[in-house]
Every structure is written in C-alpha cells, then in structure tokens.
Amino acid sequence: MTSLTFDEAAFELLPKATEPLQRMRKQAFEEFRALPIPSQETEEWRYTDLSEFELSFEAHLPSVMRTTSGQDLEGLGIVFCDLDRAAESHAELVDRHLHTLVPTDRTKFTALHGAFRTGGTFLYIPRDVRVELPLQTLTYLDVDDAAAFPHTLLIADEGAEVTFIDRFASPDLARALSDAIVEIVVGDGAHVRYVSIQEWGAGVTHLGIQRARVGRDAEFRSLAIGFGASLARAEAETVLAGAGGFSEMLGVFFADGTQHFDHRSVQDHVAPNCSSDLLYKGALRDASRAVYSGWVHVRPGAQKTDAMQTSRNIVLSEHAKADAIPNLEIEANDVRCGHAASVGPVDEETVFYLESRGIPRAEAERLIVTGFFQEVLDRVRLDEVRHNAELAIQEELAEPSAEVVS
C-alpha cells in the first residue's frame, strides 16, 4: 500500500514498468507537481469547484474483469489484455499511442493519472478483422479513500470492427477518486462502437476524459450512460481527422440527491466531408446539478461538414438545476452546423392530457420521462445495454425523492 498523498515516496513504491513507461511516468509526476488544481476562474472548470478537493488517496488497483463473450480473439490476432502487459508484449503500439490523444500535461489530474496509473485495458483489432460480439471491461472499486486510474487504449486498425463496453462500478464509499482516461484510435474505414457505463457509488469523484481520433471513411459511435458518482465530470471528444469520417455521440444521464454532473463534449472537424451528431439527454431530481457544455469546431478547409449538437434537460424538482452551453466555432463556409439546447420541466400540457385519460400524475410524469429518454435509447443497437439503461431509468424514477436540505 502506498501512502495517502501522491508524493515522492508513493511514486517510488510503484511497481516497475517498461523503460518508455517509466520515462512517461517520471515526466507526468513532474507535471503533476507543477500544475495547479483547476480553478473555477478558467472557462473549462467554471461550473465545477475542486478548490477544496483533497488530493490524498491511496493509489489502488481496482478489480478489473475483461469479458470476451466467449470469442476466440487470439486466433484473429486481437490483443485484449492489461495495459502494462501490452506495454511489454506490444511495446511499439503502446509507446506510439499511449497518452497521444490525452497527453499527461493536459491537467493536474491527467498528470496524476500518467504518473500513478498501473493496469488498464489495451485492445487492438488488426486490419479488416471484425469482432462479432461486444468486448467488455468491468472496473470495480470497493475500498474507501482509494484512487483508481482506469485507462482504456483501443486501437482499431484499418477496416476493423469492434464494440467495446467500459463499465465502472462500486458500492457507496466514504470517498474515492476515479481519474479515468480513454483513448480510441479508429483507423481508416474502421467501425468502433464504444459504450461507457458509469455506475460509481456515492462518495466517488469521477474525472474522466475520453478522446477518439476517427480516420478516413471510418465510423465511431459512442454512448455514455452516467448514473453514478457524487461528482462526475465526463469529457468526450471526437476528432474527425480523415475525410468521410462519421461520429455519433449519445449521452444519457439521471442525477438525483446532490449529484453534480459536468458533461463536456467536443466534435472537432479537421477533415472535410465528415459528419457528426451529438445528442445528450438528462433528467435531474432532488438537489442535483448538471452542466452540459459542448463545442463543435470546424477547422479551415473542413468543407462539407455536417455537424449537429443537441442537449436536452428535464428538471423534475424545485432544487435541481441545469445549465447548457452549446458552442460552435466554424471556420469553413460550406457546412451545415447546428445546435439546440433546452432546459425545462415536464410539459404540463402533456401531463394534463394523460391525467384526463385517468392516469395519475406521478405515473404520467414517469411515462413522459421514459418517453424523453426513448429518443436516445432507440438509437442504441445493443439490446442488453439499452435494456439495462431502461431499467436503471425506471429504478431512478421509482425511488422516493430524497430529503432536500436547503
């Protein structure tokens, strides 16, 4: 066990890693010590206050379970294993890609991750290989005062196809930190579906960054489901780097109690002829708080871009609050870009309609919220994931309202 602060002694106690990894760690450790805790003075952290955040945790290796749906992966040349092990067995791939999409010096927390991460998941799909069934990593944490550094590095070579589910779960804890990074390389013509299911228990602070680079004529579809953690900041970014690329980003969240969600997204159109579509839908109850801020960038020369960004928030109780900041930065003219955001209560007219049909108010509201989420869930092609999300929403709706301390 390492000590409670991320100091020199804790750093020295880390298990040995490959030479390039050691170098990266060392550099990240320097960055960690140099960088400040992000301040609300900056636009990026305006809505999340970490100024009082105590960075004293035990670096802890969570339980990680990888499932393959019983498929023979080795025969296809697929690598699906622990990231540190891959750093030895597939050094060239790991060294080339690790922390290139999310560099360690991005924030104090990415630097901390770079310095103290051990474990994580590495997934490589060779050229033109199609994986039929979903692969999954479950990261489970059940230790108080622990810090986990989940990392997924997914590389789909040209023309490869894969569906990957990243699942994070824990019981309610006194306090814990999940400092997560996901890097996804979608090769030319490859198809990747990525699903993240964040079900951390109460007490967990989750700071996650997911960034994908989409190649020429490639397709990337992501779905982020977030129900857990006390404070969850989830950044999802897609860079459309090759012509003809496509990105779909869906998000579903439900906040209750005093949960604080800070969702951020980027659709970065670097190459021409790409399209991207983002739809985040969330419901808020009790005294929860959700912020959505998103960026669509269209870089000079990214002509024929078609980008859409939509954030819809339904506010179910008096003390909940939602903010939305959908931004566009467009530097090409032959484009079609749009965004839409809304924040509002359950529509009274619809409630009235249902009530007039003999449906009690509470049930009417449940039906409306279920319908509200259905627009996203209908686009999820993985039956099991969709079904579980539907169940989770029903559970949230069935819970009695938490006592609100005002």
């Binding site: 636009e43 000079p300 020369g301 002509q303 928030n313 506010v315 179910l316 109780s317 008096e318 003390h319 909940a320 609050k321 939602a322 903010d323 939305a324 900041i325 959908p326 931004n327 566009l328 930065e329 467009i330 530097e331 090409a332 003219n333 032959d334 484009v335 079609r336 870009c337 749009g338 965004h339 839409a340 955001a341 809304s342 924040v343 509002g344 209560p345």
Partner: protein, 486 residues
Amino acid sequence: MIGGATAPIGVKGDHGVAVSQEEHLRELSKGYRFDWKDESNSVFVPKRGLSEAVVEEISARKSEPDWMRKRRLKALKHFEQRPMPWWGADLSGIDFDNIYYFIRSTEKQAQNWEDLPEDIRGTWDKLGIPEAEKKYLGGVSAQYESEVVYHKIKKELDDIGVLFTDMDSALRDYPDLVKEHFGTLIPANDNKFAALNTAVWSGGSFIYVPPGVQVDIPLQAYFRINAENMGQFERTLIIADEGSYVHYVEGCSAPIYTSDSLHSAVVEIKAMKGARVRYTTIQNWSTNVYNLVTKRAAAYEDAVMEWVDGNIGSKVTMKYPSIYLLGKGARGEVLSVAFAGKGMHTDAGGKAIHAAPYTTSVITSKSVSKDGGRTGYRGLVRVEPGAHHARSNVRCDALILDEESRSDTYPYIEVEDETAALGHEATVSKVGEDQLFYLMSRGLSEVEATAMIVNGFIEPITRELPMEYAVELNRLIELQMEGSVG
C-alpha cells in the same frame, strides 16, 4: 469613393507582402461611404494618453460636481487594476497611450445647425441628419468627438416634460436624477471598459420620460469620430417612468485612418413598471475603430425592453446588450445583426437575466461573415432561483459566405428554477446553391442574388426597424456585398 465594384479583392494569402499605407487605406475604405475627414477643429490642443491628470482635466473643463470627479478617479483605478478580457476578440492592438481621451470641438452647443462651424456642419449634412430630423425625428443629439455639438428636441415633447439632453448638460441641469441613477446598473468596476468609460466619459444622451407619456416618434443620437486615435466614451442614461414609451435610435460613423480609434460607451436603461423602451443601434464605424460597449437595461413589473442592435462596421466589436428582468411579467427582446468583412471581428449577442416570476425573453441573432471576417454570438440566459415560470427562447443563425470567414456561437444557459423553460437553437450555413441558382436563372447577377438572400436572411430584424433604418441597413449590406462574390 466606393472602390468595391472596381477593385477586385485578390488579397488571399498575401501575408508577408509589404502593403503600402495607401493601399492599406484603400482596402480599408472599400465600400465605406463615411470616409471623409474634417480638418482638426479642436478648441484646445488635445493630449494623448491616460492619467489622473487627464481625468482631472476632463472633470475640470466640465465644471463637474465633486462626487463625479471622485467617481471618475476611482473608476480609473479599477481600469488600471483590471486585466484585459482573456476571452472574445483580440484587443492587443489597442494602444491606450496613443489615444486622445478628450477633444472639445466647439465652445458652445448649438440649437441650430447653422450655428455650427462649417466643416462640422458639412459632416452632418453629408450624413443626412438635419434632413432626417425635419422628417421623422422627435429630437436629435449629435456628438462630434467627445461632446454633443448639436441638440434639439421637438417643442411638443419638451412641453409634456420629456427630458432629452446630452449627459453633460443633464449632470448640470438635473443633478439629482443623474446622481440617483448614474452607474447603478453598470457600476464602474463591472468590467475594464465600463471602468474606462466611467473615468473619462463625455457626451452621450440623457432621457427621462414622465409616467404615462408615449413618445411616438423616435429620438435620435448620432455619434461621429473625426480625429485619428480618438477615444469616444459617451455615456447614456434612459429612464422611462411608469407606463411610458420611448424609442431611441443611435447611429455612428468615423473616417478611416491607418491607426486605430476606440469607442467605449456605457448605456444604462430603466424601464419602470409597465413602461416600454426600444433602443435601436445602427453601428457603422469604419474598420479601424475598436467598439467595446457595455449596454444594460432593467425591466420592472410588466415592462418591455427591446434592443435592436445592428453591427455593420468597426474593426472589433464586443457588445452584448443585456436585460435584467426584475419585475413580475417583464419582457425582454434582443434582436442582433452582426456583419464582419475583411479584417473585422464582430462579437455580439445578448443577455437576459430572469430575476422575477413570469418573465419572458427572446433573443434573435443573425450574422453574416465574408472575406475573412469573423462573427460571433455570445449570450447568456440565466434564470435566478425563484424566478418561476420564466420563458426564454434564443435563436441564432449564421451565414458564412466564403472559406476564409468564420462564425462562432457561445450561448450560456443557466437555470436555477425548475418551472423555467428555455430553448436555444442555432444554425450555421452558406448561401444555398439552389436559391442562388433560382435567382440567377431569373436574370439576377450572383452579387445581386447573394445580397437579396442575405437581406432575406436578416429580414426578421430589419422588419423591426423604422422604415428609413431598414432601408439604410439593407443598403449597407448591399454595399458590403459588392465585389464579394465571384
């Protein structure tokens, strides 16, 4: 004078090529009709740069009460302490030491155009202000450099107690009203440029409309910068008392110089219970003016506040007219048109702060960028706790006419009340090929067709303008379009 039709733009990627001053000027003045300069006509030798002494001198020349002098000096401290905004447009080109903060161009304000010095009068004639006054205005205020040189209000309005005067006179003639309201909506330390304005303000309009009075013809102010490196800091305060109505219109222009001028105004408006205020701006500064303006209105119970904000000119504009909805049932509307051509960055938008129940706001923004220009919509809709049943809708559309140009949208939506319903929508696109094709197949040139489409695009705003201004805005857009396509 209009070079647009003859000189092809052809400057794509000419970085590093030395451009002579003359060419640079020609480029800047393309299509700009207001590029004449009067000989220097200051009544004393103006000084560049800003210091306590400059602020003291402005205050002394105006023989102000002591509280205003102190307020100015305090604001100067705020200005010095505040950093430049890190967001928005690039302001690094502003050289605060090179600016004239106060130029007095006549000794005495005129009530007749004939009483003005000849060159200054010529300027107003060319701008068509005396003509417009005769036809359809209830009062005119004309500011030249730092001060209002001409001012007149229709006798009928004067008789029913409408006060319309320049701010310097108001401070002298209605000191209590000014002291009660000055800086209450925009305190000196609100932002760096509001602090600057408070320190060196001069000119601007003061309007008071008594309860129940409907001023049914617009009052107009026109602002003209003549000198190079001029800083114009007008200060406007409008109070519409209960149940009254007033429409105030402002316009502006400046000649084109090789180095930049600064216009940094502060406008405060109070629409009392049941009042309605409409504030229309047609901003057409030359493309070497930094236009950094703070505009804020308070709307009390059942009041209506409307900003119609047309930004066609300037090098850089940063301006986000805001409305604080402070009384139950208050309504606010912002209509914003932004245009950015070569070398221009127009960062406009609007804010609505809902602080009372049953308040509504609508923000509509239309922007057009071309020839490497950059337009931005930046806005905020905020619902404070307890402002139940607030409604807001924001609609932003941007048109980008060529590959070099850019458009940004930064809308902030903050909601702290569950019964509030807010929506925001935006689109960015280019001129539709099929629309162009249709119009050209009917015999229009590409330029004409594009101008027609652009005019149609901003029509939701122009139809809200008085006829004369709508025509003017359309004409400005057409001028800006000339030589732009093809």
